[in-house]
């Protein structure tokens, strides 16, 4: 079994094998076997598509519960700036941060400032960068996973700069341990997350031994408590937390917020998993080499649309835009200080991303070639309608599952019927020897009008 940590849990009690998740999974990581869905760990990229699609609400995100934090002496909430766009217009970040204290956190840290620090660090990085283009932002953990499992060739394009949530946690821990005379391990930094993917990136940092964060709670989980904490009229200590915040960092949760904060000339912001996949395919072909930087996000509107948020993403967006007006776009961080930190590798992620490409059909190439032939043979005998009734997402994936011995050929109802009619004297052709021509892995097109004269 894989030792992967996952953000999802499929409740077998609630799953009634309705297959909806099977189709939406962008990495074909779900199978339905014995009437229950399950996740192929090494393929899952924690995008959460299945959570939103499941008609039985059987797939749930795993976040820490409040009570897990008792082992820390001082617990600091580090909310994603997405949180600032979740409440009514008159609620300013300061109100929200002080409400977090009221609901039980000992302290709060702000990620928007860290976003500004990180955007300056990217500028520093870019000034010296000579490597291949386009550089791909690595702040959305699902995008990083997508590269790990499906676009391994693009891994060298990933920005080697730490994410703002990590920088914020690191800053807070440094500061608080000095202030309180506590060892850093006694300080718990808890991210308030818009999505399960960040959660997983905290439990297992993709490019470091350990995250600076110690856990996460979802925005949805703290939303109610925060609302009631804000409604009791206690005065907010104005301006205490947000002195050094500007619109530069506050804009990061919106799609395009990252590239807007950079002074690069040729950048793209791409969102939605299928669009990101299309762009990655272009890059794989060697295109877009003139683009400097690509901001990639799984959620179409940006992190304000994360699956663990409460407010409608478009409403949240307009609230954040208002905050940008209030806070202005003047940089608030000290450039010389950042340069020094950058030179000291404070922001650098120098560990290589561990790739987790598709498992080959066999370790040995000759054997893999044989299995590939078998797989193609099986596929040719299938009806190619991608019905999913076998529990695999499409006929090609099913053929592969059979070859990998993860499914039986007779799990395909059509093969089963053919076999039955054949054994009862019918003239059904056996599936393995079906005579159709190999084609599209999706089974969408039938070729070919023109046939090559060539043979090997």
């Amino acid at each position: 079994m894989s030792n992967r940590i996952h953000s999802l849990y499929i409740d077998p009690g609630k799953c009634d094998g309705r297959m909806a998740c099977l189709r939406v999974c962008p990495t074909e990581a779900i199978r339905v076997r014995g009437g229950k869905a399950r996740i192929l760990e090494d393929r899952c990229i924690d995008c959460g598509e299945c959570i939103t699609t499941c008609p039985s609400n059987a797939i749930v995100p795993l976040t820490d519960s409040f009570t897990d934090f008792s082992k820390f002496q001082h617990v600091v909430a580090i909310p994603s700036p997405v949180l600032y766009g979740q409440f009514s217009d008159i609620v300013l970040p300061d109100h929200i941060l002080s409400a977090l204290r009221k609901i039980g956190f000992d302290d709060v840290g702000d990620v928007a400032q860290a976003c500004e620090l990180v955007s300056m660090a990217i500028e520093e990085f870019w000034a010296q960068y000579q490597g291949p283009r386009p550089v791909i932002s690595a702040f959305c953990p699902t995008i990083v996973r997508l590269i790990q499992v499906r676009f391994t060739d693009l891994s060298e394009l990933l920005l080697p700069i730490e994410s703002p949530m990590e920088i914020a946690a690191r800053e807070v821990k440094l500061k608080k341990s000095k202030e309180l005379g506590l060892s850093q391990s006694r300080i718990g930094a808890i991210y308030v997350t818009p999505c399960p993917a960040k959660m997983v990136a905290i439990r297992r940092h993709p490019r470091k031994k350990k995250s600076f964060l110690d856990g996460a709670v979802s925005i949805a989980d703290v939303y109610g408590p925060l609302l009631s904490a804000m409604s009791d009229q206690e005065a907010v200590i104005e301006g205490r937390e947000m002195r050094k915040v500007s619109g530069i960092g506050l804009g990061w949760p919106i799609l395009g917020g990252v590239i807007k904060s950079l002074k690069l000339k040729n950048c793209l912001a791409v969102s939605g998993l299928s669009e990101v996949i299309r762009i990655f395919e272009e890059i794989e072909k060697g295109k877009l080499r003139d683009v400097e930087f690509i901001e990639c996000r799984t959620c179409p509107a940006g992190c304000i649309g994360g699956s663990l948020t409460v407010e409608n993403p478009y409403v949240a967006r307009s609230k954040i835009v208002k905050l940008l007006e209030i806070f202005g776009e003047q940089p608030q961080q000290n450039t010389d200080y950042i340069k020094k930190l950058y030179r000291a590798k404070y922001f650098l992620l120098d560990e290589k991303l561990q790739l987790r490409p598709v498992r080959p059909l066999a370790e040995d190439v000759s054997q893999a070639i044989q299995l590939m032939k078998q797989k193609q043979g099986i596929y040719e005998g299938l009806p190619k309608i991608d019905c999913g009734a076998c529990g695999s997402p499409n006929c090609m994936a099913f053929a592969e599952d059979v070859v990998r011995k993860e499914a039986k050929l007779t799990d395909c109802i059509f093969v089963l019927l053919e076999r039955q009619s054949a054994s009862s004297g019918g003239s059904g052709q056996s599936a393995e020897h079906g005579g159709e021509k190999a084609d599209d892995s999706q089974g969408r097109r039938r070729e070919t009008r023109f046939k090559g004269k060539n043979s090997f």
């Binding site: 391994t152 060739d153 395919e281 794989e284 072909k285 060697g286 295109k287 490409p357 598709v358 080959p360 059909l361 066999a362 370790e363 190439v365 000759s366 893999a368 070639i369 044989q370 590939m372 032939k373 193609q376 592969e400 021509k437 190999a438 599209d440 892995s441 070729e447 070919t448 009008r449 023109f450 046939k451 090559g452 004269k453 060539n454 043979s455 090997f456």
Partner: protein, 146 residues
């Protein structure tokens, strides 16, 4: 339709390429890439094969009516044959030169036509053979050792 010459341990397949079909341009190469990944070919070899096959495929999209990309994988090497029905190449030696291109302005505006495609195939392949007949078509055959 298996070729009697193919060794027992080989896998081969063929994909169609449509001239002028920019929506699907590059699909044959990317399917080939996926298959090579499943066979467990090393990333470096996959990269060489797919760079070269993409260039050959794009030339069919750009300069021919239609064609096919066929490939054969054995434990020793990957052989790719891209052949087309199209205008053909009059002077292959000239076409092989870096920077030589007959691409129209529109094609250049789409980001092609640097005259680097064939040279790039040569760079990435261990063996390369091109034959062509003007007015009939072109066959580009190359292989990469595993």
């Amino acid at each position: 339709m298996r070729c009697p010459m193919a060794s027992e341990t080989s896998f081969q397949q063929e994909f169609a390429i449509e001239g002028g079909d920019f929506n699907n341009a590059g699909r044959a190469s990317s399917r080939l890439r996926n298959i090579l990944k499943q066979i467990g070919i090393s990333p470096l070899v996959i990269r060489r094969v797919s760079t070269a096959s993409y260039e050959a495929e794009m030339n069919v999209v750009l300069y021919a009516r239609r064609g096919t990309l066929s490939f054969m994988v054995t434990p020793e090497k990957i052989t790719i044959v891209v052949e087309d029905e199209g205008q053909g190449i009059a002077d292959i030696g000239l076409a092989m030169q870096e920077g030589y291109s007959t691409a129209s302005r529109e094609i250049r505006e789409m980001g092609f036509g640097a005259g680097m495609g064939l040279p790039n195939i040569k760079k990435n392949a261990d063996e390369l053979e091109i034959s062509s007949e003007v007015g009939l078509g072109t066959t580009v055959r190359f292989s990469v050792k595993i």
